[in-house]
Subunit: 216 residues, 2 copies
DNA sequence: CTATGTGAAGGTGTTCACAGCA
DNA sequence: TGCTGTGAACACCTTCACATAG
């Protein structure tokens, strides 16, 4: 009896990725009612885009009026499973890993960091916010015991693929990797999102050059 | 007399964003010759995609043979302006900012971090790798003196938009923002890439739920 | 009369299939 | 023969335009 099964055709990934921005905009706005126009403005998208995206999941608005902000926010949280207490494990407690834990703790994201692990005996046992860094060897046990569904990879490139394989084998369903390396997943049901700082910066370099060409 | 002006129609952003991955794959492969098939395999894309992307900029391969790895790498570096010594400024020397500086220094990205600034007197003067954190007030002078074309925003949400506006006014042409906030740019010639960890994690939560539905 | 919800149109990027050249 | 380079077909997303409901 899932709420969205009837309409749950194929939702575009692009739509899913915009929903969190809508959610933030709704909270930011503070009003009790909001139009697709205002919501789009705050989130950085067009009003049609907002309406199309929301329409994939149902008719949440009132014609001639707009959307009830709190109701819509709850709907989006439900669609994204943010009301299900999703838990994540951070693998790698280096500079980036610890920064990510603190970042996630500071911003109320409704995704909890439930464990941090590392392979280096030097950092195991150290505190990162409310957590203690545990040995990488505990990975599978932690995922199982704490019902972790999400993995965040912040290890050096050489260790990334083995870590990913272990996360998948341990039952993690979505992975965010910051490792500067292309990764592959065997299981097509596992979603992998890669954020590669090196690649991002190199791509940006192109646009630095482009603008210089426009205005010589 | 630019090398690619003749063909420089409208290159898809998606193509530009794949080029750094091809470059890394070329370096990783080590061979002197490589086919689009092998290159795609290493970078995580199809062979057709590789050929289409490269064809926007010229015909670099040899039919029946493949690509000369070192030549192709140099071409990609040239297209991305990585042979122009692009320099970036990191704004915000907190956890994330410092992690980014070290990350960029460690991975040979051909984009140099040329300055780090912060508004907090406590961190100004501190060392981050080879750099010293300078006052935010020096932003414009540093950009001008060190010929910086790229800005990286790693400040709290409230400060992000003002920083972006100052970066644009100071002549920066491409910006990477990690601030958990929607940003707007007035100048359409300035390219802004936003990486919003909170939004990414919330979107991932959806896929955690999706997989659980598939296998109950 | 207003703002949603949605088919239809349009645009953009990817995959296919093969011609073309070493 | 083998792999590149590329028009054509396709799939996907966004924008348009309007019927629809309050």
């Amino acid at each position: 009896m899932e709420r969205y099964d009837a309409r749950a055709r194929r939702i575009p990934d692009t739509t899913i990725r915009r929903l969190p921005a809508y959610l933030r905009a709704l909270i930011l706005a503070g009003h009790d009612r909001i139009t697709s126009e205002a919501l789009g403005q705050l989130a950085g998208y067009s009003s049609e885009q907002v309406r199309k995206d929301l329409a994939y999941f149902g008719a949440f608005g009132t014609r001639g009026v707009g959307y009830e902000a709190s109701v819509l926010a709850d709907e989006i949280r439900h669609i994204l499973q943010l009301d299900h207490g999703v838990r994540a494990i951070v693998v790698g407690a280096g500079r980036l890993g610890t920064a990510l834990v603190r970042h996630a703790d500071e911003t109320a994201s409704d995704v909890a960091i439930a464990a941090v692990v590392d392979i280096d005996p030097e950092v195991i046992g150290k505190a990162v916010d409310h957590l203690t860094v545990e040995p990488l060897s505990n990975l599978e046990r932690l995922i199982s015991e704490r019902q972790i569904g999400m993995g965040i990879i912040a290890v050096p490139p050489a260790g990334a693929q083995p870590v990913l394989d272990r996360l998948v084998a341990a039952g993690v369903r979505a992975i965010l990797s910051f490792a500067p390396k292309a990764l592959t997943v065997s299981d097509p049901a596992v979603f992998v999102q890669q954020i590669d700082l090196t690649l991002e910066m190199q791509a940006l370099a192109y646009f630095v050059g482009q603008s210089e060409r426009d205005t010589p």
